[in-house]
Every structure is written in structure tokens, then in C-alpha cells.
Amino acid sequence: MSAHPHPEGKLPHEPERATLEGRNKVLGFWLFLGGETVLFGTLFSTFLALRGQVGEGNPTSHELFNLAMVAVATLILLTSSLTSVFAIQAMHKERVKAMIGWLIVTVVFGLLFLGLEIYEFAEYAAEGHRFSTSAFSSSFYTLVGFHGAHVAFGVIWISILVGQIVKKGLTVVTAPKIYVAGMYWHFIDVVWVFIFTVVYLMGKVG
């Protein structure tokens, strides 16, 4: 129940669930993700309602989207989800170095994804698809941008956690944080699956 490390120095098998604080954190985060589901659901609904409202003379989703770039971004994000799983597995085996390594890989993938997204947005904006162009553009940038902001937040968050692990080591206090960050990262990935499906692929179909 208390926040002290295991007396023998060896962690319990699932350190993230070893303390009540840890279990609270994990459960609380799950519920938070439930709320995030509604949040993104609402964003999706605004996008779906407004995606046809392109406005006279502005590029349509069909003309706009660059599927190759989206495919690469998707691949990157899916892979980063896998590497974050590896990080958690390493954590369960108390292989701290490996865990840090996988986390860093995950962060790097996240940064790559963000870079691509920024590049993509810049390109769209140059084609006359700006935030205030039309209802379609506003809802597009808000939905995809919200996701991007989540990725950015995740990148910063995981980086800070890596710093903490380096300083304090893996304990029953830090383990839940890592675990929760991992969940967050998967969730971002899951949201992206719907974004590339609903926004890009369905947008391309018309």
C-alpha cells in the first residue's frame, strides 16, 4: 500500500499493479481513455458532418490527400506502438536498459510522425487548404491536429519519464507511470487507425 520499493530490491512481477497507488493510476487512466474516446468521437462526428462542406474553389479531400505520406506515417505509428509494447515487456522483466532503449525508439518514431504531419499540413496550407478556409478544413485540422497534439504530448511525456527512470531507477512508483504512458501511446495509435480510415481513405474514395 505504501510507496516504498520492495525490500529485497527486486520488483514484484507486475510492478505497475503492486501498490494501491499504482492500481489507482492504471484504472484512473483507463477511465480517462474512456473519456478520450468520447472526445475523439465528438471530433470525428464534427468532421463527418462537415467533410462535404469544402466551399467554392477549395481543394476537396480527394484532390488534397497524399496517400503515400499517410501510409508512411501509419507505418511509423504502428511500429512505434509495437516498440512501446516491447518497452513494457522489458519493464516486466526488469531489464531497465532495454526498456529505456525501446522507449527512446518509440519517442523517435513519434517525432518522425510529427515531422511528417507538420510537413503535410504545410503542404495542404500551400494548396489553399487553411484552417479558416471552410468547415471541412476547420474540422479536418482540428481532428487531425488534436491527434497530433496528443502525439506531441506523448513524446514529451515519455521523454521526461525516461529522464526520471535514469535518475531514480525502476520502482513501484515509476513503473505505473511507464505503464500508463504505454497505454496512452497505444490509444493514440488506435485513434490514428480511425483517422487514416475515416479521414484519409474514405476521403480519397469520395
Binding site: 462526428s45 463527418l48 488506435v190 481513405l201
Partner: protein
């Protein structure tokens, strides 16, 4: 504090086997596969639009189920409240999406 079964810590006595990476790599493989199918259908083009929509949505849902159950461990014991939490969110999100599609323009 005992809490409910859904949130208790792992039983100390029980033998615990760390899961290997294999399941996760398989899940990753399926994810990529489903993604590829989705992209390929769209790039191929020239197919009935509503059919493609349905196909795409099914692919996405399948992929999400795979990822959530393997990577986020939702299939594991002790995830009743997480499942309720996510399903509750999905229910409201779905309501919103249906609303946007059918009751926003006329």
C-alpha cells in the same frame, strides 16, 4: 484494502510467466496486413463506394480490437472496468457519429 477482483494486485504465491514478444509481433503483423488491405482497396479504386466504406470500417474495427486486446491487454483478467470504460466511450462516440451522419443536414 481489498478492492474488487478487477483491480487487485497479482497474487504473490502464484507462479508468474512473463509473456514473450511473439504474440505482439503477430498482432503487429495483422495490424500491418489490415492496413495494407485498406490502403490497397482505396488505391485500386473503381469499386462501389459504399462497399469500400464498409470494408474500410470493418478493417479498422478489426485492427482496433486486435490492438486493444493484445497491446493494451484488454483480453486479460481484471479488465472489467477498463472494458466498461472504453465501451461506454465507444457507445457515446458512436451515437455522436450516427447523429452527425443522419441528423445534421436536411
Amino acid at each position: 484494502m481489498a478492492g474488487s477482483e478487477y483491480s487487485e494486485s497479482p497474487k504473490p504465491g502464484k507462479r508468474y510467466r512473463h509473456e514473450g514478444p511473439r504474440k505482439h509481433i503477430i498482432a503487429y503483423f495483422f495490424s500491418i496486413l489490415l492496413t495494407l488491405i485498406a490502403f490497397a482497396t482505396v488505391i485500386a479504386g473503381e469499386i462501389n463506394t459504399s462497399f469500400v466504406y464498409i470494408l474500410l470500417i470493418v478493417m479498422a474495427i478489426l485492427q482496433v480490437i486486435i490492438q486493444m486486446s493484445f497491446w493494451m491487454h484488454m483480453k486479460d483478467r481484471g479488465h472489467l472496468f477498463p472494458i466498461i470504460g472504453i465501451l461506454g466511450g465507444v457507445f457515446v462516440a458512436f451515437t455522436l457519429v450516427v447523429t452527425a451522419e443522419y441528423w445534421t443536414w436536411w
